[in-house]
């Protein structure tokens, strides 16, 4: 039971509160307000609806929705918003956080466990934040004889490359950071960086187990890169475009997974290998080579690489959704108007919200599918893995290219086909 300290006097308490409020008022009026005015006067702000943003206008807009909405509309159509919030880093990081949470709870259910329970009261929902804080507070140990420059830059490069892949993924029609005409080629170009980073980091660690792990990562990713690209190629043949938005829109009535199931399977297996997830986690095989190329990582270096891995997981799951599951296509479940009678600029756009909803649902489903093998499979051996990659998956991917070509030349899909709109 909480009790007040012996020398507690209510008058002193109220007095201290009053002093605190006084000081806050003094500092805000003497420092804060002039600062805001200086910024608003001297920094040229963009004109909104033909009016120059003055301090007066700014304060009047704060209380008037007809004026606030254009500002918000302006802000959410800036490049900064796309990079930082949606569909850029915040969205990807949120989904990555959701992935970690789902992985823990979902795997725990498979293994007759409970999973994290205490952090955040409800089902351990804040466990990720606790882990992050732990990793930040830990010492980063650099092995003696390590190549310091590469050792420090490789984790950052890992996250940056993952983020670069995310920037190419559209999450709704028109909502993409970089809308390239060669989007899918750019995605594979960025994915090609990962084995390089793994090898560089393992080499820079100056240790035996990371070295073996790095070589394994290189072997694995090169063996699976080719079926990966070939399976996406059949989608490109059907869609007739390299742009990811166009590919998603091209599957309007029928998703490509219906025509190219083998290709989807090859893409799924290859993305598992690309993500180094069980059964393809050879580069981090714990009982053989300690932690593989991550052996010498510690503290936030490990945290960054894990962050990059989960963002990459989101990117590849989203790519699968765009290539095979029709992207953001789905029945319209949101109403056209949420404020009937309101005329003026609107933030709410039913089509976009619907697209984001379906895209997120499909991506989360795909992420679950990527997490599933961890619960049911042991690790595969390196020679069997290479055999699978080079002999089986490439053949399967080629078969699907012929399926795609026959669909296009048979006049079923593609420009002017029977089933295309």
């Amino acid at each position: 039971m909480a009790t007040a300290p012996k020398d507690f006097r209510f008058g002193n308490f109220v007095g201290s509160l009053i002093r605190l409020i006084l000081w806050i008022l003094v500092i805000v009026t003497l420092v804060g307000l002039p600062l805001i005015f200086i910024v608003l006067f001297y920094v040229p702000l963009p004109p909104v609806n033909g009016e120059v943003l003055t301090p007066y206008l700014f304060f009047s807009m704060m209380v008037d929705p007809t004026r606030t909405v254009p500002i918000i509309n302006f802000l959410i159509h800036t490049d900064f918003f796309r990079v930082a919030v949606f569909p850029g880093f915040t969205y990807a990081a949120l989904l990555a956080g959701a992935t970690i949470f789902i992985e823990r709870k979902f795997l725990a259910k498979m293994q007759l466990r409970i999973g994290p329970l205490y952090a955040g009261k409800i089902e351990g929902i804040l466990q990720l934040i606790a882990d992050g804080l732990k990793l930040i507070s830990k010492e980063i140990i650099v092995p003696s004889g390590a190549d310091k420059l590469i050792f420090w830059t490789a984790p950052v490069a890992f996250v940056v490359t993952s983020a670069a892949v995310v920037s190419l993924i559209p999450a709704a029609p028109g909502w993409v950071v970089a809308d390239l005409d060669v989007g899918i080629i750019a995605v594979f170009a960025f994915l090609g960086f990962f084995p390089l980073i793994a090898l560089l980091f393992s080499w820079a660690s100056n240790s035996k187990y990371p070295f073996i792990g790095g070589l394994r990562a290189l072997h694995q990713m090169i063996a699976f890169e080719i079926p990966f690209i070939l399976s996406a190629l059949s989608v490109v043949i059907l869609a007739g475009s390299l742009n990811l938005t166009d590919i998603a829109e091209a599957q309007h009535p029928y998703w490509f997974v219906l025509f190219l199931p083998i290709s989807a399977f090859v893409f799924y297996i290859s993305s598992l290998a690309e993500l180094e997830r069980i059964p393809f986690d050879l580069p981090e095989a714990e009982s053989e080579i300690v932690a593989g190329w991550l052996t010498e990582t510690s503290g936030m270096i490990y945290g960054l690489i894990q962050l990059g891995t989960y963002i990459k997981l989101y990117a590849l799951a989203a790519l699968f959704v765009i290539l095979f599951l029709g992207g953001w296509a789905g029945p319209q479940i949101f109403p056209e108007e949420i404020m009937p009678g309101y005329t003026g600029d609107k933030i709410y756009n039913a089509t976009t919200v619907n697209a984001v909803f379906w895209f997120t649902i499909k991506t989360l489903g795909m992420i679950m599918l990527v997490l599933l093998p961890r619960g049911i499979n042991p690790r595969i051996r390196i020679d069997i893995l290479l055999h699978t990659g080079w002999y089986k998956l490439i053949v399967l991917a080629f078969i699907n290219i012929f399926v795609a070509l026959s669909l296009v030349y048979g006049g079923i899909l593609g420009p002017g086909g029977l089933l295309s709109t």
Partner: protein
């Protein structure tokens, strides 16, 4: 001319040395353990040429505690708690053969009900040990579900043993003269229910782990130990039975009530890692039958422990008794000089014998096969070091 020949020889010799040095350079030496996640309290140095292991040097002894010497300073009863420390997951079996040997030395007759309860505790504890082993085998191959499931089911057997003996892991239940206490009320029903549940679970284990194509790819044809080599190396337990030799101490030299129990020796013929991992599972299945049979044939009432002197002692002499533990034959050789304390105690454990097969099997196999071979040998480092 002679000078030239000398010079020629010198050049050849130096060239050969360089060749040898470069060959040495090709090899990478890896120290697996004692801090490696795939070793346990044990270390072995391996040299790899590419992905192939060309050399292996096991280096046990990290957890040596001098159990045998400690026995000489305590009397026969005081020895029990510390003797089960080498393998606490199988603590009933490691004290079982000790009790048998002491009983032979001191001429103690164990009551029939005591013998049955002893065998029952031994079977239950073998399940506990094998489930632990299986869990570690699963995680060594990267199968985390196979780590969680056996360890979860092991908990149920531990609860049973706790009800029977009073302690979860280190029971100190087998003593010379019988067992410490009788079965609690309702234990038989509880035991039968648990066994029925566990037999269903074993089918699920087979579905998710043993019949998984990836698991079979990793273990079938890996680390083959032929029948002849198994006999030459002197391996025991599941490793020996996996190589096609149906040897089980419970059948070969039946102790206590095992000659009245009807069970089959489970063995496989291939001798690879798959067989070595399969035999413990078959053993667990057979053990379930043995538990049922023991509970059926057990006398419903009676003494469980023979009356002992405070400090039991027998005439000077020696005895050797062994039992089938989770890792194979586990024997005690005890020499007594007529005092209440043993003159010399020698432990012969299955783990150490099985470890001798490790370099033999690892050389020539791939680095990725190391965990599947190592842990399939049913090796418990702490027991081997004693």
């Amino acid at each position: 001319m002679e000078n030239f020949e000398q010079k020629f020889d010198e050049t050849i010799r130096r060239g050969l040395e360089i060749v040898k040095e470069t060959e040495e350079d090709r090899l990478m030496t890896l120290s697996v353990g004692p801090q490696h996640p795939g070793s346990g309290h044990f270390r072995f140095t391996i040299k790899v040429d590419g992905d192939y292991i060309v050399y292996c040097d096991p280096d046990p002894g990290y957890v040596h505690r001098g159990e045998e010497k400690m026995c000489e300073y305590r009397n026969f009863i005081q020895n029990i708690p510390h003797l089960e420390r080498p393998v606490i997951h199988d603590s009933t079996n490691i004290t079982y053969s000790y009790s048998l040997a002491v009983e032979e030395l001191t001429n103690i007759k164990v009551p029939l009900r005591g013998q049955y309860i002893r065998a029952l505790a031994s079977e239950l504890n073998r399940q506990v040990y094998t489930l632990y082993w299986l869990g570690i085998y699963g995680i060594f191959l990267g199968h985390s579900t196979m780590f969680m499931w056996p360890l979860g089911d092991r908990e149920l057997f531990i609860d049973l043993l706790e009800a029977l003996t009073g302690a979860r892991v280190t029971h100190a239940f087998n003593i010379p003269g019988g067992v410490r206490n009788d079965m609690p009320e309702g234990f038989k029903d509880r035991c039968l229910r648990q066994v029925a549940y566990f037999e269903k679970r074993l089918v699920e284990y087979e579905d998710i782990f043993y019949n998984n194509p990836l698991f079979r790819q990793r273990t079938e044809g890996v680390g083959i130990l032929t029948k002849e080599d198994a006999i030459k190396l002197g391996v025991t337990g599941s490793v020996l039975r996996a190589s096609g030799i149906p040897f089980d101490v419970r059948k070969a030299e039946p102790y206590d009530v095992y000659d009245e129990i009807d069970f089959k020796i489970q063995y496989m013929k291939t001798g690879d890692s798959y067989a070595r991992s399969m035999v413990p599972l078959l053993d667990m299945k057979e053990s379930c039958h043995i538990i049922r049979e023991l509970l059926d044939k057990m006398p419903q009432s009676g003494e469980v422990r023979a009356k002992l002197q405070p400090n039991p002692k027998g005439p000077a002499g020696e005895s050797y008794k062994r039992v089938e533990s989770g890792r194979g034959a586990l024997g005690y050789y005890i020499v007594s000089d007529g005092t209440p304390k043993p003159y010399r105690v020698k432990l012969s454990v299955g783990s150490f014998r099985n470890m001798l097969a490790l370099p033999f099997l690892l050389v020539g196999s791939k680095l990725a096969d190391m965990p599947s071979i190592y842990w399939s040998l049913n090796y418990w480092p702490v027991e081997a070091d004693r």
